[in-house]
């Protein structure tokens, strides 16, 4: 299966590098949203739970853009059929798409998190960064798994653009909740506090649970 995942992943990354449809849109959306928050809240800087909320809500909505595009090329250009005609484990497609979406989210955050620090965040990001990275990785994993599952379901419908947010947002509420709660101490007014480890554990549990669900149901989503 490793070879199949590598082939699928190479194709995913090549397509994104050629089309630049998902990642640039997600980055631009994130930065625009910070600007909107800046004016909407009428504040130059945010801290604590407000900062964590702004960051995670923005990243979640940006992720929705990527989730919406995840299977479009496969659906419109026969990639599904090409894959289904090959003698390969169908779970490879799930794994490759999750890794691809996870990678896209990481690339987006390389720009979006520093942009958040510059445009809105009160306390310095430097001190919070190592622990914030842990939360980002755990949250990205959850978003990638649930996003891939929802995208695979929605691509079979005519109202894909509507179905993705309607399904993904409720399912991802626990991710936003846990990530925001875990991040809040890191953005404290007086300097970064300790990471809320309990919430990181919640994120890890969520990731594990949905990875198992995705593994169990993904084959059925590809069935005719």
């Amino acid at each position: 299966m490793r070879q199949t995942v590598a082939a699928l992943l190479a194709k995913e990354l090549a397509l994104e590098l050629r089309t630049r449809e998902a990642v640039p849109a997600m980055v631009l959306f994130s930065i625009t949203t910070y600007v909107v928050f800046h004016f909407g809240l009428d504040r130059d800087r945010v801290t604590g739970d407000l900062a964590a909320g702004v960051l995670w809500v923005t990243l979640l909505f940006a992720a929705i853009l990527g989730i919406n595009r995840l299977f479009v090329a496969d659906h419109e250009q026969g990639g599904f059929d090409g894959f289904l005609l090959a003698p390969v484990d169908r779970t490879a497609l799930l794994v490759a798409k999750v890794i691809a979406l996870f990678s896209f989210l990481c690339v987006v955050e390389v720009v979006a998190v520093p942009a958040f620090a510059i445009l809105l965040l009160g306390p310095s990001l430097t001190q919070a960064l190592p622990e914030l990275l842990l939360v980002l990785v755990a949250a990205n994993a959850g978003i990638a798994v649930v996003g891939t599952l929802v995208a695979a379901l929605a691509i079979q419908t005519r109202a894909r653009d509507l179905i993705v947010p309607l399904l993904a947002l409720p399912l991802l509420v626990p991710v936003v909740l846990a990530a925001a709660q875990g991040t809040t101490p890191l953005f404290a007014e007086g300097g970064a506090g300790a990471l809320a480890g309990d919430w990181l554990a919640v994120l890890a549990l969520y990731d594990l649970l949905f990875a198992l669900i995705a593994y169990a149901v993904f084959d059925f989503l590809l069935e005719d």
């Binding site: 070879q3 199949t4 590598a6 082939a7 190479a10 194709k11 090549a14 397509l15 050629r18 089309t19 090329a73 250009q77 026969g78 990639g79 059929d81 090409g82 894959f83 289904l84 005609l85 090959a86 003698p87 390969v88 069935e223 005719d224």
Partner: protein, 229 residues
Amino acid sequence: MPANDHAVVLRGAGRRYGERAALRDVSLELPAGQTLVVFGPNGAGKTTLLRMLATLLRPHAGEVCVLGRELPDSGYAVRGRIGFLGHEPLLYRELSGRENLRYHARLHRRPAACVQEVLDAVGMSARADDPVAELSRGMVQRLAIARTVLHEPELLLLDEPLANLDPAAAAQVQPLIGRASGRTRVVTSHDPAGGLDGADLALGLRGGRVALLAPASAVTTAQIAELYA
């Protein structure tokens, strides 16, 4: 159910889309190495039949056996042994022909060298590194044929395979997908004379039902024309 020397066996096979039956009660046997040509007007069920044999659609009625395996349960066992050429080329437009074929070669566990071989065989080596989106429909069809035979399938399922090809290109791909390939073939066609040429068995579909099933040598072009009347 099937004799091992039959590549395709259908017994009362059917397929619905919602309430509409696209294919009803189709029964036939195609011995290995032979060619079945399928005629029928648009919407007759030709593409549905091919997609069902390719394991892309589940049969809703009857029995379908391909290369000695019953579908859909044993679909996984025959996928790598089937070459499917449908209306869509199954190629990513933003990738080059070579990148697309490399991707399919990896999925089918074929060595990278086979990509250049099939590109040469379909006469696409010179434009192999251009994005598929920049190629003419005929060139895309040649790449699609290369993709279809890349993994050396035993059974070819070809939906109007010569569509968009000029005569020279059509002649060039014959060793790959024509009778000379020596493979079992199921080919759809709208051309009575050209379709029957090189076929062993002729199937005519109308409204999803079998309207004609006979050895190709016994079928006249007038019988085929009647299907479209």
